[in-house]
Subunit: 340 residues, 2 copies
């Protein structure tokens, strides 16, 4: 039994194909009575338009691609997970589907990241967490494709993005720690991303502006993971035992650092304060609860969807949106201890 097509509906209702199509697309040209007749038949037959025929004719697929970075276990990372949830929610709310991609070697070298868009397979693409070195993004820029970077950006490139305000994050973080009296702060800096760079630089600048010396703001690069935070903290503490606070590049790094501190029998926050960034769900459940600067990743994801579609619809050429952040003070930060 063949699927029922628009033709079947048209014949049954004694109208033309176009009429049915117009009804289905809510075109006001069709009278209420005809509309109803058609809709009834549609309902009766459980008619489902063929999405391919539709996409082919309308040049819109109603599909969004989300491109994940090629990291181990990306699909179970809370940071990415929150963003994907936001994307998925918003997309399905407005009738869009989400296609999964990973920016791995093959994906880039075969040019699939471009073909995906030029072949109209997807209306737009959302890139999550690409790194400084992701030169492939430039091709997306030159070809003016509907692409949005999610919670990161590429300075000097005309690429749209929706991202948390990392500068403001850094300033709030600096204020918070300085206000608690910390004068030697170690920075667990994420690696390979412009946001990480911007965060670190702004943080340092803010501290220096308040009278700290650069040498009292040692930093170490590391992966944005518990392990990365653990190792970076280790490196920093071994060289700078007088540090009274650790600034994590994200919550996971901060959590990794806290594990190290526990192993070293350093109390948080009595001996050393730890501050994170993101406010991923786990942060509320650490012990002590992690103070952090909240980035609303879910919301960033949904806004990215809207931005991407605005680009696709030609409403705009370039969208660069920076979102406010919020200090969440829990228990992992406290007054700086006296160091003799």
């Amino acid at each position: 039994m063949a699927r029922t097509t628009i033709k079947d509906i048209a014949e049954e209702c004694g109208v033309s194909l176009s009429t049915v199509s117009l009804v289905l697309n809510n075109n006001p040209r069709i009278s209420a009575s005809t509309r109803e007749k058609v809709l009834k038949a549609v309902e009766r037959h459980q008619y489902q338009p063929n999405v391919f025929a539709r996409s082919l004719a309308s040049r819109s697929s109603h599909v969004l691609s989300v491109v994940m970075p090629d990291l181990n276990h990306v699909f179970s990372d809370t940071y990415f997970g929150e963003i994907v949830s936001g994307i998925y929610d918003r997309a399905s709310e407005i009738g869009y589907k989400v296609l999964l991609d990973v920016a791995n070697q093959r994906f880039v070298s075969t040019g699939e990241h471009v073909a995906l868009l030029t072949s109209k397979r997807v209306d737009a693409a959302l890139f999550i967490g690409s790194s400084i070195y992701d030169e492939y993004l430039t091709r997306l820029e030159t070809e003016q494709l509907p692409v949005v970077l999610v919670n990161h950006f590429m300075p000097g490139h005309k690429l749209s993005y929706v991202a948390a305000d990392y500068k403001e994050t850094a300033r709030i973080a600096a204020d918070h720690l300085l206000g608690l009296g910390h004068r030697q702060i170690g920075i667990l800096s994420g690696t390979n991303t412009h946001t990480a760079l911007e965060f670190r630089n702004t943080f340092i600048d803010a501290c220096v502006a308040s009278g700290l010396r650069e040498e009292d703001l040692p930093w170490a690069d590391g992966w944005f993971s518990e392990q990365g935070g653990y190792e970076a903290a280790q490196w920093l503490l071994d060289r700078n035992p007088r540090i009274t606070a650790l600034m994590g590049g994200n919550d996971k790094m901060a959590i990794g650092a806290m594990r190290l501190l526990k192993e070293r029998k350093l109390r948080v926050p009595d001996d050393i304060s730890v501050l994170g960034v993101d406010d991923t769900p786990a942060s509320a459940f650490t012990n002590p609860g992690l103070s952090t600067i909240r980035h609303d990743l879910f919301h960033i994801g949904s806004l990215a969807v809207d931005a991407a579609l605005a680009l696709f619809n030609g409403d705009s050429k370039l969208l660069q949106k920076t979102l406010p952040v919020q200090m969440i003070a829990r228990e992992s930060t406290g007054p700086a201890p006296h160091r003799p």
Copy 2:
């Protein structure tokens, strides 16, 4: 500038549309010389076939849907993440794309879970982690759609699945704990899934067969999460202080239980042993390392892809595959302590 189509290529090469199409589909009917000529033109124009036209004509979308359960933070759950990784990897290996879906209220009530397949939008669908109550699956059964349940199943239904051997898992677990001398074992049983039921029942049967009494095998239901494990463990320990081992329904529950034990100053495994199921990445990093029965979720994901496509291609009507599991003994299980 319009996209180059198969027609452009054909004209440029002085051959028919069909010829180009056949070349592109590696049909041996076309001679090597013609083939080469066409491929050169394709290369020169960076020609990309229009996927929609292709899907429309060929009735195959080369897309798979992965349907996630409607849980909080599914997209950052390691269990689901591992499976999705396996699915994604295998799918992209064989030229398939992966579409994301969530089995939420809307998805089911609108019949999208069926329409997705009947409308040929996707070639097949992979359902991850549906529950006992997911009646909507029965419609997939009656309509004989290409659907595979991933690491779970529905007894009494003719639904294909690829799942770890939960019975064997239960037996291995029982052997392991009994071998260590445990005689009173609390079970942190996952809830709402047939695999959880099967696991619990088989575990109890195995223990009883070895001479334990049922009343020494108390169990508590809980969500498959750290929190769920924590609470279930709490409930069990409060009522059964003589327990010497806790059997987690999965690693997360086991990890949650370990947190509780730490809070209660009970040493693992000296005072109480803890055993998990799955061997998700985190299990190697707990302290002490979590003993567990390994389910190769990544592999299960890839096999599910192959199974789904076998169904789609009509190679088979029903595929029910059970995969071997493996004991991973780390430090969280040890000899039962003497309880006076």
